[in-house]
């Protein structure tokens, strides 16, 4: 049962994002882009730790998280499999993008440069609290 690996994990050690979150995010990203599809098998914990040299518990935790999110299911003895896809775009997305574009035009009109705008966005994301 030596199938092609479905996903290659990587870690950005300087990002400050906890390692298990990076793994979860990479699976979610792959689901959004259609790289991972329902029925696909995720690499085993042992394969992941041998590939990226991280603590096995970190991988267990990421896989548990994905299972809690309903994205994967663990089948005892055979591994972790994708249950559903994430490629559906929420219907609010185009409207949200339009609002953001309007806001950015307003910020540019007020004389802000790209860096200042990015700093404001980052600050607003911090002050409005984060949803996992």
């Amino acid at each position: 049962m030596a199938a092609e690996p479905t996903i290659q994990f990587r870690l950005d050690r300087s990002s400050g994002v906890p390692a298990y979150r990076q793994l979860v995010d990479q699976v979610r990203q792959a689901l959004r882009l259609g790289i991972l599809r329902p029925g696909d098998q995720l690499p085993t914990v042992r394969d992941v730790v041998k590939q990226v040299a991280i603590n096995p518990n970190t991988v267990h935790r990421a896989y548990r998280d994905l299972e809690h999110q309903g994205l994967t299911e663990g089948r005892p003895g055979s591994g972790t499999f994708i249950r559903r896809s994430l490629s559906k775009v929420p219907e609010e997305q185009p409207a949200l993008l339009r609002q953001l574009e309007q806001w950015i035009s307003a910020a540019r009109a007020a004389g802000l440069g790209d860096e200042a705008i990015a700093a404001l966005v980052a600050q607003a994301m911090r002050t409005s609290g984060r949803k996992t």
């Binding site: 400050g16 390692a19 042992r46 590939q51 990226v52 040299a53 603590n55």
Partner: protein
């Protein structure tokens, strides 16, 4: 949760100096616990005591609930010890080193040992002395893991290796841990090395344990506060380190600050910054201690 390793008031004196003092800590079974601290903090002393290679001056060490007695060999089968000097025989061939491991250890896993070295492309016929440092470390770790220990004690396992060899060694190590659930206690003075592999961290400095907790709690318990100077000390926190410029003070604190004024800004320090703060904090205390001891006539201030 059982402790794989537990120490109680453990101390070791070398002539007049304490290599380790009043050390009480616990390494839970199944964890990968990192031990950080500057050179000379007592990391190697602690690991040698845990391996039963050195006799405590004070206190006790227990492995899986049993006190280690340096006169007995009972604990040796359960513990693998790997040290920075890597005691290999340079004139042995790699396969002879494996034979050596097999003859000495009743639980020896010969298949796994051969498989690891094969995965790493280490030629079994090569003499140890002809291998690169990285390959020598791999062979030493293989001999160490081949005996199927329940607890691996690794003293600076990657210190002398290049980045590629480091990564390879940690990959082999993590793969084995995933397979067997081995408890690992490893020391390093490079925090960034430990962060991805450890779930717990112990900071040892000035021969004492400064902090022992899960990496996650350590990260969530500490905050960086930047505020104008002079500023009243924030309530409800323990200040680990503080630096000041003419106009600003930067504090690294433990605990959630309450009632901070709007002039304070908070940030999340990374693990490196937190460890450094503890090490700086202890060196300041040590200097103040020395100053106080050196000037007894100065009287109270």
């Amino acid at each position: 949760m059982t402790a794989a390793l537990e120490t109680e008031g453990l101390g070791r004196r070398y002539r007049t100096n304490w290599g380790l003092r009043d050390c009480t800590l616990s390494v839970p079974e199944g964890s990968i616990t990192g031990l950080v601290g500057p050179n000379g903090a007592g990391k190697s002393t602690l690991l040698r005591l845990a391996a039963g290679l050195s006799r405590p001056t004070t206190g006790t060490v227990s492995i899986f609930g049993r006190v280690v007695d340096p006169n007995s060999v009972d604990h040796l089968g359960r513990v693998g010890y790997f040290d920075q000097l890597r005691p290999l025989y340079a004139s042995f061939r790699v396969k002879e080193m494996l034979t050596f491991g097999r003859r000495l250890n009743p639980n020896w896993d010969d298949d796994a040992a051969h498989r690891w070295l094969e995965d790493l492309d280490i030629p079994l016929n090569q003499r140890i002395g002809k291998l690169s440092l990285g390959q020598q470390a791999e062979v030493a770790l293989t001999v160490c893991m081949g005996k199927r220990p329940d607890l691996l004690l690794l003293d600076e396992p990657v210190a002398s290796l290049d980045p590629l060899a480091r990564r390879q060694l940690l990959q082999t190590l993590m793969g084995t841990v995933a397979e067997r659930g081995t408890t690992v206690f490893l020391s390093s003075h490079i925090v960034s090395e430990l962060e991805p592999v450890c779930d717990r961290l112990i900071i040892l400095s000035a021969s004492r344990v400064q902090l022992s907790d899960s990496v996650e709690s350590i990260l969530s318990d500490h905050h960086l506060l930047v505020g104008p100077r002079p500023a009243p000390a924030p309530a409800g926190v323990e200040v680990i380190s503080s630096t000041e410029t003419g106009r600003q003070s930067t504090l690294l604190v433990r605990g959630a600050p309450t009632g901070l004024g709007p002039t304070w800004e908070t940030a999340q320090p990374d693990l490196d910054a937190i460890v450094l703060a503890y090490l700086e904090g202890t060196s300041i205390q040590a200097r103040q201690g020395e100053a106080a001891a050196g000037a007894p006539s100065e009287g109270p201030r």
